[in-house]
Amino acid sequence: MPLELAETSDPGAADQEYLWTLNFGPQHPATHTTLRLVLTLDGENVVDAAPHIGYLHSGFEKLGEYLDFNQYVTIVDRMNYISPIANELSWHHTVEKLLGIEITPRCKYVRTILGELMRIHDHLLNVGAVALDLGAFTAFLYAFTQRERIYDIAEYASGQRFHSSYTRVGGVLFDVNNDWAEKVRQFVEGFKPVHAELHRLLTRNRIFIDRTKGIGVLTAEDAINMSVTGPLARASGVVRDLRKDEPYLAYPDLDFKIVCARGGDCYSRYVVRMQEMQESLKIIEQAVENIPAGPINVDAVTDITLPAKPAVYRSIEGLIQHFEVLMPNRGYPVPLDEGYGATESPNGELGFYIVGDGTTRAYRARTRPPSFIHFAIFPHLIRGHTLSDVVAVLGSLNIIAAELDR
């Protein structure tokens, strides 16, 4: 049964020497990536927590100023490596917004399908990890088996399982074919029973409910004030989803709902994620049956995507365009402008802010990572709970360290 929030006094006071400082991470089984929490404990109760970042710092944003828009996608992949293609979508969504490119309908649909697959991918890991942190190992592995299927789909499309680097400015790396669509259909069919099984294992499990309900409550007001987005905000009753609010890709054509809850606790976040997977399946089912025919890249109208191979081999125009795109000192014109674009990534609003300086490299490529903001609210959520709740709350926030330290 959930704890009443314990009375805790000011941790800075001099008579508080009995408090323990516990270093939770950076190497700890429950901090699934390299992050560190310095907890102040009163017995089992957490008096205060200080989240630390910087253990995975690799200068991603600086690299964004040296790599061109297509090369940087490989770096973006590695930010939230739980759902790589969702990051690529966001990056190229922003770049295309800056360049004023309207991608082809086919590309929109393919990107939508992959984006939703990544949402399932991410939520599966998170639901599994929450269960694992609470001791239910089996649910975790059930989730992981399905993630393998999604890797297979990403590999079929791009040739790379994990860091697919699939999208390009104005299109994607390779076109998809019917076999790929068939694979997606098979996944959707195979995933439904597993989803039901996860529900049976966890959703009405007494221990699981006791461990998560009323734990780490985030009110709607706090969620807005602390700019929390994504499933966390929706679990607190904030109705915000960029897929509906600022429609992009093929989402306006598709029928789906936004999942919200009002509890704001770990359990609500879990339920929102589980239901979002169901909605994602609905989106995928609709999209995969309606992939429009036609070109996947915008090469017919602009010269910023690589031309089709026959055009490169058989016409001088195609060959010239190929080299124009690839050569470092050529490229295509980029407006001297700045722009912010954001998509609804599985974790929340993932945005990029690009300042263009006329070349195909960004002058500044700032990321708005959802994890960074969600990690910052952690002390607010955990104060007064017990040490056991740390893992439940941390798991429900789904923090990816690579995204913290861009």
């Binding site: 049964m1 239910a136 809850a261």
Partner: protein, 390 residues
């Protein structure tokens, strides 16, 4: 002299068999969890991984043995020994076969005719927590200390329902001697098994036994995701292996006790009864007992890989608010039935009634608490599942 040799041989065989069984139980657990989780499990060492325990044992022996700086060396070394010794010692009075009708040179209990058998077991197994507490305290590590603190509170809380649930059986059988407990059940046949008249006590005993043995959902003292390794965080090599052996031995002992106290020991209708006179009947009885124990162990493993773990305050609540009152009420019921000489079958409806009564109280208390909490805090008015249609 012959008696001494028999005793020593029995000890050697029993301890050897337990330790080997533990090694293979670990393999079984890994295989079973793999089967539950659509994996393959260990399959590299030998066919189906049957030599995996040998490889693991070898690895434990040749790994570097680290004693952390500023640890209390004596305690640090003593703790795993205490842990294993006490659990093995408890096995002295556990009959692992029939005690009368086997050949004279065989004995299926290390210390026969101990009239305080049940008391002895509780006295000794509760000492096992000293290994945990000392190990956690001596490690000079905050995670270990937290783990051992949890373990001490947990074991003390669960000793009480464990002991009181057994008292019902002791009162019914009129004996604390485990051999006689089995004999009493075997004499009366299948319907005399104490599970029929003491189902509630069996449930409480089994739950508390899981907590005593630090098995999920009660493995708070070593839960990996919170305390890294709990009390054995700093232990490595053979010292860690001793803790591990102690834990599994505890599981075996508790499974034996469950079977002996509630499931008729070596007795099984038609196959193994006190009247069985065919050749090798004693062997059949041993096999019956061992297969029952095996089933209990497998059940414990299935539990481990299915459900999540409790939080510490929930663990305490379960013990103090549910198990202890229930076991007390159950004991009073047995006393009443014995005192007035009523039919023992009255105990079955009483057990079920008690279970339902406490269950209803628990559920309504939960409901009231949720109502209270939702009234108090705004923004949490709706059940997250409301209308979601799961």
């Amino acid at each position: 002299m012959a008696d001494l040799i028999t005793t020593l041989l029995t000890i050697a065989v029993a301890v050897g068999a337990i330790l080997t069984t533990v090694a293979y139980l670990i393999l079984l657990e890994r295989k079973l969890s793999a089967w539950m989780q659509d994996r393959r499990g260990p399959n590299r060492v030998g066919p189906f991984g049957v030599f995996q325990p040998l490889a693991d044992g070898l690895k434990f022996l040749i790994k570097e043995d680290v004693i952390p700086a500023r640890a209390d060396k004596v305690m640090f070394l003593a703790a795993p020994c205490i842990g294993l010794l006490t659990t093995l010692l408890a096995f002295a009075v556990v009959p692992f076969g029939p005690v009368n009708d086997q050949p004279a040179y065989l004995r299926f209990i290390i210390a026969p005719h101990v009239d305080i058998g049940i008391v002895f077991i509780f006295a000794v197994t509760s000492l096992a927590v000293y290994g945990v507490i000392l190990g956690g305290w001596a490690s000079n590590n905050k995670y270990s200390a937290l783990g051992s603190l949890r373990a001490s509170a947990q074991v003390i809380s669960y000793e009480i329902p464990l002991g009181m649930s057994v008292l019902g059986v002791a009162l019914l059988g009129g004996t604390l001697n485990l051999e006689n407990v089995v004999a009493a059940q075997a004499q009366g046949g299948f319907w005399q098994w104490y599970i029929w008249t003491q189902p509630l006590a069996a449930l409480i005993f089994f739950t508390s036994a899981l907590a005593e043995a630090n098995r999920l959902p009660f493995d708070l003292s070593e839960c990996e995701q919170e305390l890294v390794g709990g009390y054995h965080t700093e232990y490595s090599a053979m010292k860690f292996a001793l803790f591990f052996l102690g834990e599994y031995t505890h599981v075996i002992t508790m499974s034996f006790l469950t079977v002996i106290l509630f499931f008729g020991g070596w007795h099984f209708p038609w196959i193994a009864t006190p009247g069985s006179a065919y050749v090798g009947a004693w062997l059949v009885k041993v096999l019956v007992l061992l297969s029952k124990v095996f089933s209990v162990i497998v059940f414990i493993m299935l539990i481990r890989w299915t459900i999540p773990r409790f939080r510490f305050d929930q663990l305490m609540n379960l013990s103090w608010k549910a198990l202890i009152p229930l076991s007390l009420a159950n004991m009073i019921a047995v006393m009443t039935v014995r005192q007035f000489g009523w039919n023992r079958w009255w105990l079955l409806p009483i057990s079920i009634g008690l279970f339902c009564f406490v269950g209803i109280i628990g559920v309504s208390a939960k409901r009231a608490e949720i109502r209270h909490r939702h009234g108090a805090s705004q923004g949490a008015g709706l059940h997250p599942l409301g209308g979601a249609g799961i």
